[in-house]
């Protein structure tokens, strides 16, 4: 019967540990306190695994099975922490803001250049709008050629769509203001109008 008594003693110790954690839980905010709470949890878990599940009495290789699972999880945590534990709520300052701090004359915006625009279109726009501007039959984006309402919009409206993105009937166009400069977006629009617009 001494086994039973031992189990009850361990149970009592687990309850004590629980109440200690509860007490410490009033002071959370202090990293040392949080650490202590988790050490206590680990000790409690170890008591249950070793004594209630009798892992302490099992063959070494069987103990390694459980330890192996823990080791795999440890590898997982170490691997993801540098990425996932970053405080993503802090958005790094935009590069343009930094450039503003240094007084540099901004290049004036030129009218859209079809040749430059063709290169922009051929790299960034063809994926959805296709080389012929028909967007694979209007399935992957706006079909500039067959749907005349598209290019009938004003330049301002179209440039906003390019910069900010747009969700429409076909799908969602991503915003390009981060990837393309304003000049590039103006050039691309000029190319589109020249190549696919009504002649």
């Amino acid at each position: 019967m001494s086994h039973d008594k031992k189990y009850i003693v361990i149970w009592a110790a687990l309850l004590v540990a629980l109440f200690v954690s509860l007490g410490l839980g009033q002071f959370v905010g202090n990293a040392a306190v949080v650490g202590t709470i988790f050490v206590i949890a680990a000790v409690k878990a170890w008591l249950v695994v070793a004594e209630f599940m009798h892992l302490r009495l099992e063959a070494r290789w069987l103990q390694l099975v459980f330890a192996g699972a823990l080791a795999a999880i440890m590898a997982f945590v170490i691997g993801i922490t540098p990425d996932v534990a970053h405080h993503w709520s802090v958005i790094p300052p935009k590069p343009e803001a930094a450039a503003d701090a240094v007084v540099v004359a901004k290049k004036p915006l030129e009218p859209g250049n079809v040749e430059r625009g063709g290169k922009v279109y051929g790299t960034y726009c063809v994926g959805c709008h296709a080389v012929d501007g028909k967007a694979n039959g209007g399935t992957t984006g706006a079909n500039f050629v067959d749907d005349t309402t598209r290019l009938a919009k004003t330049d301002a409206e179209l440039l906003t769509s390019i910069a900010e993105g747009k969700t429409g009937t076909i799908g969602t166009m991503p915003p390009w203001k981060g990837a393309l400069t304003e000049q590039q977006r103006v050039d691309a629009l000029a190319y589109v109008r020249a190549t696919f617009g009504a002649k």
Binding site: W11, L14, I40, V49, E51, A59, W61, F76, V84, A85
Partner: protein, 196 residues
């Protein structure tokens, strides 16, 4: 009288000296550790990136969490006492203790149901924020395992009453202990690590 005749049941045959059922059970428990470990550690690491979750965690009901911890620890005690009784041949006592363990699980689920109701009625649904998404998924998955454990324990208890499957007393109890261990980690992570 050849020693080479294999016993018909896997439980009776072992190349390592460890019962086959126990080998299988520890591998199964290791895979459960991998599942919950992956989930819980994902939560922990996300939590490090989001200190503001401490305010949200303050809306969990710590008293209920603490009560549930006491309940699970006690039910684990009953489970290990059941195993002890079974090794001494007292299957009736083992059966009763297993039923007590199941009872503990039932209390746990009732407290949890109260908590969920309370939190959802205050607007803290699984989609309210990322913290609550993790909270409901982790405790929900744990709850599913509690139900599965209660089912297995009930089956073992009924078998024990008929003096059958004595190994089930130990094995279902071990599964229950793992469910308890998972909760031992969930409790401080979700209830204690909060601003108040």
């Amino acid at each position: 009288m050849s020693h080479a005749h294999a016993a018909p049941l896997p439980e009776e045959r072992t190349s390592t000296g460890v019962a086959t059922g126990k080998v299988a059970l520890w591998w199964f428990l290791a895979s459960e550790v991998a599942i919950f470990g992956g989930l819980i550690m994902s939560y922990v690491v996300c939590r490090l990136a989001h200190p503001e979750w401490a305010e949200e965690a303050a809306h969990t009901v710590s008293a209920a969490g603490a009560l549930n911890t006491v309940v699970l620890l006690t039910s684990s005690l009953f489970a290990v006492l059941a195993h002890s009784a079974a090794t001494h041949g007292d299957m009736k006592k083992a059966s009763n203790l297993l039923f007590a363990t199941v009872g503990g699980g039932l209390v746990f689920l009732c407290v949890k149901a109260y908590e969920y109701h309370h939190e959802i009625s205050e607007g803290f649904t699984p989609v309210a924020s990322l913290f609550w998404g993790f909270y409901f998924f982790m405790t929900g998955l744990h709850g599913v395992h509690v139900v599965a454990g209660m089912t297995a324990l009930t089956w073992a208890a009924l078998k024990a009453r008929k003096n059958e499957a004595p190994w089930a007393v130990e094995y279902t109890g071990m599964y229950w202990h793992l469910v308890d261990v998972i909760w031992i980690f969930l409790f401080p992570l979700v209830y204690l690590a909060s601003a108040s």
